[in-house]
Amino acid sequence: MRGRSIVLVLLLIAASATPAGAQQEWVHPRDMGLADSAFVAPDPESLRYPLPGGAVAYISVDDLVPLVRFTALIGAGRADGAGAAGFAAGLRAGPASMSSSDFAELLAGMAALYEVEQGQTETRVTLEVPSEDVVLGLGLFAALLRGPLGAEAGDNSQDTASDRATGESGPVLYEGSLAAAVQLLEATLFADHPFGGAFDNDAASNAVAFRERFVVPQNVVLAVSGDFELATVHNALAVVFDGWSGEAPPLRQHPAPALPDARRVHAYDVDKLQGWVAIGHHLPEVPVQDEAALMVMNYIVGGGHFDTRLFRATRDRRGLTNDDSGFPEQGFRGPGVYTFRTYGRPQVVPLLIDLTFEEIDRIRAEPVSDEELFVARGALADGEYSLWFRNAAATTTTYAREWLRHRSHERSASWQDRVRQVTTADVLDAARRYLHPDRMQVVLVGPLEAIRSAPSLEGEPTLGDLEAAEH
């Protein structure tokens, strides 16, 4: 009996002394029984606040830090006629009541963040200031939107990648990033279209007319978030937007151009260490019933993360590139662009292009696996969706943009369900409907001589072969 007890004690001691690591059971993440996500998006109606003239603001108090952010989303952009670029330049320069240097000093004095972004059919203005400057910040924000434009309005000195590109006959300003290749691709796709990126150099009068036409209550939605007394901001908004009025601008729709009739390569020579590739075509407006399947499909083939088909083919297995991803950028009141972007050392660029097309062909040819679908649906329904509402600033901006575009919140409310209901057949259908590899344009910016002289690594076409063939 005593002997058995000693053995038992020894066994117990041994068990406790054994490193638990030896017994560690690594349950597969699939089998961990992880709980369903409990995330619920804030109710948009609780954040809506009417402004004079029928404008709408989404307002959310967040007292985590003493900052206040104002965002205005304006339903007009570069493609909406003369004066757009001048209007944006005027916004960047500040209100007419001060010089641009004084404006910059004022912003610096508040440690403010200030951004003006202009897309094809929308313009976004964002100002973030410390809460102690909320009154000054709101006054400034209102002055930017409603007051006279600054002296720099219309003095738009921006040029475009297409202006700078001279193909093989001359130098291209190389940005050290994919931006130049993507801009060149968009310039190619929209050469004869209002979305062609033809930045105007308008007179100031055009900028003023643009503002008077488009910065009206029915065409602007505000987002206000941060640490403030709600009543204070309500009252202040009523004061600064008092008397704001204007006719709603007519709805402007920009039809998509025809797809290119064949795949073509557009090569631009730069003396750098890598070649940069943008492949794509325009993306027609996507109906709501197709939206989730398109995003799931892209997530699987090249969704901008580390576990896509493109990443596995080009990066993990071959070590060719740091990135190869797909970007379906939806347009609003017009077409968007669906691009695939990659880059690498000269000797691997033709293989990168070939593998990218191989994966595009594959997603159009065969159903995705159940595991791929499971991962993509979870990533978009539980992960991506939460980013839209990750804080008060993101929430109010998400709802403001949705209201500006759709005058409802049905899309965001149904997003998770729509994603979760996507099937393998839906993914295949989306790939065939929205990817047309034989019509895609290939823009290559890089050291062309080195790329052309690269031998075929896996039997893929050389750059010369690609240029000679028009699909």
Binding site: A35, A38, F39, D102, G109, L136, N322, A381, L387, N391
Partner: protein
């Protein structure tokens, strides 16, 4: 001193609008305390693992980070970038994630290790044949030997045999499937971290994946991943400024590896071996060299037993070795002339500063901002124009627990770079005499405070700062660092400028076009 008239914006029409609104009450104080108390809660486990939690009740998400106290500082010369490479390899999976049949794959992995040992032996035997002999990286007696080639072929053959067992992407896939966002990893001189933002109810997934990554990483697709680092390095070198800034770092430091660029020479990438990577991994990825940071909808009490489950079994290991290199007392002004036609002409002054944890360090954040308008005024007084910037960046990072530099740069509109340099030196001499505008000091402090608020607003950014301070010094230093910036006054800045902005502690960098003779 007499300073130029301040902005006239107060006279603008904007003022009327502001006055119109002035009846509105100012905002209520924010939840963040004025003393920068972040509410960090700490638990240190018996095995040395440190757990830091900031509780944000009601937050549906959690920012999760795991920091390891190792980085470029711990690399051997000739292996620059090896720490970063290890981070890449740690995405390649473990014995349970990333394989379709570990039993079969592990046999091949063992043979790969044997083949690599033979390759290393072959390289060592041929050292006199294959080592560089030329100043310009252009000569060796022979590139390779039959023995080396045989070993390389064997490794390639074995890697091909292992390929069918590989399941790429597992260290990301399950995070993504269960709502993870912001998945990334970073390696700098002093730390490596992996991070993800997860739904609060799924935080166990982070613990399961990271505990596995920390103990069971398998180095798959080693040579493919090596080329990804080459690609990243080529991307760096495509920027015209990279060679210049790396040369400036090299001139600024004498012994600390903090000044070494990643991938110092192309050959470094080719030196990486599984054996060396394994040595780094086993030496530094030990539980007592690890800090977990969580910010969001969890509590310390909830996290302690969960962390215990996944990490508690790991035994404490010997403390990993630290870089023992210290910078000698600076004794000479150094000067670098970089002739280049792509970069805008510029003059840069770098001065050595102490690391985070030193009582003087926090004030340099303020001094950098105050120096900018001082130099702008000095340039204007000399009839010169240029864009002025100041930072404390070395290679990729702006703060260290070891000495680094404060860098002030003028992108000069004038061709007379000597005059620009004189104006810059006059300005910093003025700083040392206390010629600092109180309003500019307050503005600098407000800018730093506001930047900090933006960090606090982002749980992922805040978790990084806490973990970063822990690896640089201690996480508690962060609060003191922020408080010291607010408490800095003119006298302290003048003292620092007088002590640190001296010729013996200075590197002057000049960028000029190739066709411009020195002195013109």
């Amino acid at each position: 001193m007499v300073l130029p008239e301040r902005s006239k914006y107060r006279r603008s029409a904007l003022l009327a609008l502001t006055l119109m609104l002035a009846g509105a009450a100012p905002a209520a104080p924010a939840a963040i305390a004025d003393d920068y108390d972040l509410g960090v809660r700490e638990h240190v486990f018996d095995n040395g693992l440190r757990l830091l939690v900031i509780e944000r009740p009601g937050d549906p998400r959690v920012a999760c980070k795991i920091f390891t106290d190792m980085g470029g500082l711990n690399e051997t010369p000739g292996q620059a970038g090896a720490a970063h490479f290890l981070e890449h390899l740690m995405f390649k999976g473990t014995e349970t994630l990333g394989t379709t049949d570990w039993a079969a794959e592990s046999e091949i992995v063992a043979q790969v290790d044997e083949a690599e040992a033979e390759l290393i032996a072959a390289l060592d035997a041929a050292r006199n044949e294959t080592a560089e002999r030329g100043v310009f990286h252009d000569y060796r007696h022979a590139e390779t030997t039959p023995r080396i080639e045989a070993a390389r072929s064997r490794i390639a053959e074995l890697e091909s045999m292992a390929a069918p067992y590989r399941d790429n992407g597992p260290m990301m896939r399950w995070y993504q499937a269960f709502g993870g966002t912001g998945l990334t990893a970073t390696t700098e001189q002093e730390y490596m971290k992996f991070d993800i933002n997860l739904p609060a109810e799924r935080v166990d997934l982070f613990l399961r994946v990271e505990a596995d990554r920390m103990t069971n990483t398998v180095f798959r697709e080693f040579d493919q991943e090596r080329m990804i680092l080459v690609e990243q390095r080529l991307g760096d070198l495509n920027r015209a400024s990279t060679p210049y800034t790396e040369r400036m770092a090299a001139v600024s430091g004498e012994s600390s590896p903090v000044f070494w660029p990643e991938g110092h020479y192309p050959d470094d990438f080719m030196q990486y071996s599984r054996a060396y990577q394994r040595q780094l991994y086993e030496r530094y990825f030990v539980v007592n060299n690890t800090t977990l940071v969580f910010i969001g909808g969890v509590t310390l009490e909830q996290m302690i037993p969960r962390v215990e489950t996944y990490f508690g079994w790991m035994p404490r290991q010997p403390e990993p070795p630290r870089s023992e290199a210290t910078e000698p007392v600076p004794m000479a002004e150094r000067r670098l002339i970089y002739r280049n036609d792509e970069l805008a002409p510029r003059v840069e002054l770098r001065h050595g500063i102490p690391g985070v944890g030193h009582p003087d360090r926090a004030a340099f954040d303020v001094l950098a901002l105050v120096a900018v308008p001082a130099i702008e005024r000095s340039l204007a007084a000399a009839g010169l124009t240029g864009s002025v910037g100041a930072n404390t960046r070395v290679i990729h990072t702006s703060r260290f627990g070891v000495p680094a530099t404060l860098n002030i740069e003028v992108l000069a509109s004038s061709a007379d770079l000597e005059a620009v340099e004189r104006a810059m030196l006059a300005a910093i001499d003025g700083l040392a005499r206390g010629e600092i505008d109180d309003a500019e000091l307050r503005a600098a402090q407000k800018t730093l405070r506001t930047q900090w608020y933006r960090t606090v607003a982002d749980a992922d950014a805040l978790a990084f700062e806490i973990g970063h301070f822990q690896t640089m010094d201690r996480w508690q230093t962060l609060q003191a660092h922020l408080q010291q910036r607010d408490a800095t006054d003119v006298q302290q800045l003048a003292r620092l400028a007088g002590r640190y902005f001296i010729p013996d502690n200075r590197v002057v960098g000049i960028v000029r076009p190739r066709d411009q003779e020195q002195g013109q």
